[in-house]
Subunit: 333 residues, 2 copies
């Protein structure tokens, strides 16, 4: 997805290459973004922080950029992808667990009871995750994720979930890396659910993925060590947990953070509270036609208090419908 | 500490630069190591894993190298440095905590009761850490660590603790990085105790430090977010915890791991269990004159079961006295 910067010749009206500002030159690195305040704020931040001699220049080791995943880098509607995965695992494992037919929240999944599913809340979800993820070794789980992603299809788009990543954000990730930023995912989703595919899909290696996690237990099996996933939550990387997770995993404060919901608010606040130039961005889902439109009341990806703070503090809000020419990479083929 | 590789001209008897094997060429990158099986096993591993076309070649993203800290990269005797720090904090905070004068394990510290100190065990230690580290914000703690390191002196060497790092290991870290390995610390010590100085001292940035951690709590203070350290253990990165921590933080299995005690055994086993070329190393403290000599019965840095496994599985054991020309960087000045 990395695009080479166009230099002299593409910037009309400027005769001398030396006068071309990096921001103008980099404009073509975000071809799926419409010109507008969101795109300009990104390019402006990059120009200020990476131009030698600039007052806002940021040393390379400090160039840490963190991105939420669900709803920021890929589609999170109508349900988080990991919930889809967990529900498919409930169905696949139902034969071995006959008690699930009468036991909530499993019964709701097996009977496709939409009302019960909608109201099971985080507790029900954690119960499903624990029951369907635990007991596997980390290697078995990794394979289960890859196998599922290879065949599962999004209910509306009828495509693999990894096709439903946002082209404009892929361009932003590549542009940041071209400017020596280290790009991280900081997601409420499970760290072991993301790591098997983030390098291929986003160019983000496993060691730059922060997420929620369960406890694992070291065990020797026939003299070969395995890490067994236990049905116990270790860390929830959401809301305040995102600031805690960033501190815990990265140990540096980001200079750029992008989210899309209230779960990202503290990550953005934590980023904003550092000294020097900072960029805080929110993806606002305004495009019911090409993707989904939702915000303040959405059960998935609610954007309410973070929206208020973004408006008040003049953080960048990306209006999907107006700011993005293209949503998904497959639209470009 | 990085040293340039000497090429043609330094390898006697070989006329054609094209015939020089990387292992021979790299020999001079470890000038503080005596020739011997330990040095040769390192150079042999590097040659096999980084030479294009070699059967054991490792792709760059998989070149993950993990190092224990206490006793592997710096001196851990007569007590872990972080314990020295915590004890100094008990002394500094005693005025504000008069109850400590009669309350163990604090009393033992304040009265310098060696017997009580020696027997307080992990529980006492965790109690001291919790009481002296908690209540600070992560930024205040970072500053407290830096302030202490600037003035504290090792009881025997009368030098800052950060002077007591092993020159041969600094050379190894630099050589690995020159060969595109990512170098990590994976330590039982506190992650927030190490991160403030590992970049300066070892060239290892905060995001490549894995360690034990306490719970932090996100809090707004006058609208500014802080992370407050709570007196509650989050994760103990020792023994089996090292394999778990590697999985949790890095999400890839190392191809090289170096430790010095039983607390590193599972990290070495986890590393060894991967497919393809692997390097497992132990530093054996055999030099009472220049550093310390200890192993099977040592209360700090006990090397007993890991020693047996290393011998049985032919892992590399570094004999400090015989394998290292120089222990500390200051010996070279």
């Amino acid at each position: 997805m990395k695009r080479r910067l166009f230099l002299a010749g593409t910037v009309a009206g400027i005769g001398l290459p030396a006068l071309i500002s990096p921001a103008r030159a980099q404009a073509d690195a975000l071809p799926s973004w419409n010109d507008g305040p969101a795109k300009q704020s990104i390019l402006d931040f990059l120009r200020r922080t990476t131009t030698g001699g600039s007052r806002d220049w940021i040393p390379v080791p400090e160039r840490i950029a963190t991105f939420d995943n669900d709803g920021t880098l890929w589609t999170e509607q109508p349900m988080y992808v990991q919930v889809m995965f967990a529900m498919d695992r409930v169905r696949a494992l139902a034969g071995r667990n006959p008690q699930w037919r009468t036991q909530e929240p499993f019964k709701a999944v097996l009977t496709n009871d939409r009302d019960a599913l909608a109201t099971m809340g985080e507790k029900g979800l954690l119960e499903i995750m624990a029951a369907t993820h635990a007991g596997l070794t980390t290697e078995e789980f990794r394979q289960a994720v890859l196998d599922w992603l290879a065949t599962a299809r999004h209910p509306r788009f009828k495509r693999p979930y990894t096709d439903l990543v946002y082209q404009p954000m892929l361009e932003l990730l590549a542009l940041l890396r071209a400017n020596q930023f280290k790009t991280y995912i900081v997601s409420g989703g499970g760290i072991e659910f993301m790591r098997p595919w983030t390098e291929r899909v986003y160019g983000i290696p496993p060691e730059q993925v922060v997420g929620s996690s369960g406890v694992t237990r070291y065990e020797l099996r026939a003299n070969r060590p395995v890490l067994l996933k236990e049905p116990k939550v270790q860390f929830i990387d959401d809301g305040p947990g995102k600031a805690e997770g960033i501190n815990q995993y990265i140990g540096r404060r980001p200079v750029l953070a992008f989210g899309n919901s209230d779960g990202d608010q503290q990550m953005l606040e934590w980023t904003a509270a550092g000294s020097g130039a900072r960029f805080m961005g929110l993806v606002h889902h305004t495009d019911a036609m090409r993707e989904y439109a939702y915000d303040r009341q959405s059960p998935v990806g609610r954007l309410d208090t973070a929206w208020n703070e973004a408006v008040r503090r003049k953080w960048t809000v990306v209006d999907m419908k107006n700011d993005w020419k293209v949503i998904y990479p497959f639209e470009m083929r």
